[in-house]
């Protein structure tokens, strides 16, 4: 019987309000026991986690693996290795591949290719066929094939009736609908947040209203349909306020935010001299929005943090601003960036238990995934973190095929040191296991 014994770390499991120095025993790929002063079984592999944080494996529920169709940007192999390197034990992959993941065979393709990969992959299916927002995709058949939820992410569903029907239908099969909220008419041609900076730079703007108008619409639709709505990458102060009110009213809605929206603003587009790594959808907003996102994260309005890992080949970004695709690659930066925030004390009350909740427990809850806790019988997925480790963001050392980050060169405090998935070590000291196969 294969056993892994993680000794003497500070075990943080917010799902059980557990935060104390303890040992973790994993056997046959699942958590067997968490308690202080356990005795390591003689056959167990032992990790000394003294001075480290031991957390339920981090889960990134918003990742673009680009596979199939754009394997030159990323594929399931490189993307899951990037995930393991970044401390993630599982990712949910978006359906905007080529061909689009709108069919059970596509869900099967991702699951098959991901079996034995460096992290678990939960494929999300498309909400509408071809992401066109016109006809409902076969959500029921995709769910039977293993789809973890449904989303047209990358594109909004512009037709309100389509959204109503999709939400209502998804409720019937117990599936979560994840929405990319953007009124495509209000955002048409936009390259960055609309405001003082876009005016000065002469770049077409994407007003906050483009996001807020669609969130408003979908919250109103949710009142009619019921079901489970999850709002992807919230970026504006107004969106946070809409969600806060909706949650107060008891609507069944959850939301996520990315590290780049929490840490950067539209000023960076100017200060970087139109660096295309600042081009992302939704766009980097203002300082006021950034502050509101943190407030929303801390008061529970925003449930989870996701990377929205959107890898692009360096050539794709090495062009004029208008011609560059949107996206920031985040699997290998998300955890260190947030650890550094927690360590710095820049955001009052943003501590390690909250970080673990937002990156592990909440994502598992939102999609109903196994994991996100260390209860006995849960998957043996663990992220071990050294909160004092010096870490420099160096895209040239990434496992991802991409290099697109506006954080390159940033010096941080805190990094993952072990990633364990199903009881197997997938990453140790930044090095991903050569063959990170899982049973």
């Amino acid at each position: 019987m294969k056993q892994l014994f993680i000794k003497g770390g500070r075990v943080i499991d917010p799902s059980q309000n557990y935060d104390q120095v303890a040992d973790v025993l994993i056997a046959e790929g699942v958590v067997e026991k968490v308690a202080p002063g356990l005795k390591a079984p003689s056959a167990a592999e032992v990790i000394d986690a003294g001075g480290m944080i031991v957390a339920p494996g981090l889960i990134d529920i918003h990742v673009h693996l680009r596979d199939p169709g754009q394997e030159y940007k990323e594929d399931i192999h490189s993307g899951t290795r990037a995930a393991a390197a970044g401390g993630f034990t599982a990712v949910a992959s978006m359906a905007n591949t080529d061909p689009v993941g709108d069919d059970p065979s596509m869900i099967g393709y991702v699951r098959k290719k991901a079996s034995g990969a460096a992290s678990r992959v939960y494929p999300l299916g498309a909400l509408t066929k071809g992401l066109e927002g016109i006809e409902m995709a076969e959500m029921g058949r995709m769910k039977l094939a293993g789809a973890a939820g449904f989303s047209d992410d990358g594109k909004p569903v512009m037709n309100g009736m389509m959204m109503r029907n999709a939400l209502q239908y998804a409720a019937g099969i117990g599936a979560v609908v994840i929405v990319h909220e953007e009124d495509a008419h209000l955002s048409a041609g936009g390259m960055m947040h609309e405001g003082t900076v876009s005016s000065v730079l002469g770049l077409r703007g994407i007003p906050s209203a483009a996001e807020e108008a669609m969130i408003s619409r979908d919250l109103l639709i949710l009142k009619i349909t019921g079901g489970r709505l999850h709002i992807a990458h919230v970026s504006t102060a107004g969106s946070v306020e809409l969600l806060r009110r909706a949650k107060a009213e008891g609507l069944n809605v959850t939301a996520e935010v990315t590290p780049h929206h929490l840490l950067l603003t539209d000023r960076l587009v100017k200060n970087s001299g139109y660096n295309t790594n600042t081009k992302v959808s939704p766009p980097l907003r203002t300082e006021n929005d950034r502050q509101a996102l943190w407030a929303g994260l801390l008061d529970g309005t925003i449930d989870a943090i996701v990377s929205d890992h959107a890898p692009h080949h360096p050539d794709d970004k090495d062009v004029e601003y208008d011609f560059a695709p949107c996206g920031i690659a985040g699997l290998e930066t998300t955890l260190p960036l947030l650890l550094d925030e927690a360590a710095s004390g820049r955001v009052k009350d943003f501590n390690l238990p909250l970080l673990v909740d937002k990156l592990s427990c909440a994502p598992a809850r939102i999609l109903g995934l196994p994991g996100g806790n260390l209860k006995s019988g849960s998957p043996g997925d663990i992220t071990i973190i050294d909160p004092d480790r010096d870490f420099i963001i160096d895209p040239d050392k990434w496992y991802s095929k991409s290099r697109n980050t506006p954080f390159a060169g940033k010096r941080l405090k805190g990094a993952p040191v072990y990633t364990v998935t199903g009881g197997e070590i997938t990453m140790k000291e930044g090095v991903v296991a050569e063959r990170a196969a899982r049973g």
């Binding site: 005016s199 000065v200 002469g202 770049l203 007003p207 001299g273 090495d318 062009v319 004029e320």
Partner: protein
Amino acid sequence: MQTLRRKDILGLEEISAEEINLILETARSMREIMQRKIKKVPTLRGRSVLNLFYEPSTRTKASFELAQKYMSSDSVSVAGSSSSLVKGETLKDTVRNVEIMGIECVIMRHPVSGSSHYLARNVEASVINAGDGMHEHPTQGLLDMFTIWEKKGRLEELKVVIVGDIRHSRVARSNLWGLQKMGAEVVVSGPPTLMPPDLDVFGVKYCHDLEEAVEGADVVMALRLQKERQESGLFPSMREYSELYGLTPHKIARAAEDLLIMHPGPMNRGIEISSDLADGPRSVILEQAASGVAVRMALLYLLLGGTKEQ
């Protein structure tokens, strides 16, 4: 000899009043060269310049090319349509391939805002922005200021009104920054849908009513109106625009006696400006075109002159 201590001219937002003064003073001596019978000085002999135009241009391209000829530099001009862009070559590759042939300065016009910043980062040659998307057109701003300065003898405390599509105009942005740095007061007018969001960031006043905007103005500048703005729903019709915001003798009645009337060209006669104003005694529209050569000679001289061999 004074030179500009910078590699590139990307926009007037980042250029100081002292630098603008130096450029204007230099342009004045360049204009003197243009008035000679033999318009040629050896200042830039042996220096190589690339004119790279990804958008059509008459005035800017002609005046850059003439400026180069008058200063004896060697230059090549590549137009967007005939360049490798259509074959899918990147901007970076195109310019690097020409740079290796010995180019020291690239003049670029490009439809995308920020492309001159991108280019400047990627080449050792000096880059002069000849208009990038909706961002800036610094040499136009400079030639407009030069024209005003020559006519009025100063820029400070003049009231300049810019009318029209400020939102999509790189000419307007360069003028807003430049004129205010030189102490002029700038007022903009036009339909609200053609104003940039958060206009306050430029520090200018907005006045919807054109007659009121030009009250006591020393300069009024009309911007070119593009048909596609109406097609994209920003205002109802060309005739309504013309009636509300087109420059006519009646609408500028409350301006100063010695008002200067300007237009960066190309003009839509009868839309943003009436022909009697465009061709009238107060118009300096043709002087603007002439100033363009002097200002561009000055910039080439200040960026390239006096270095290397000399």
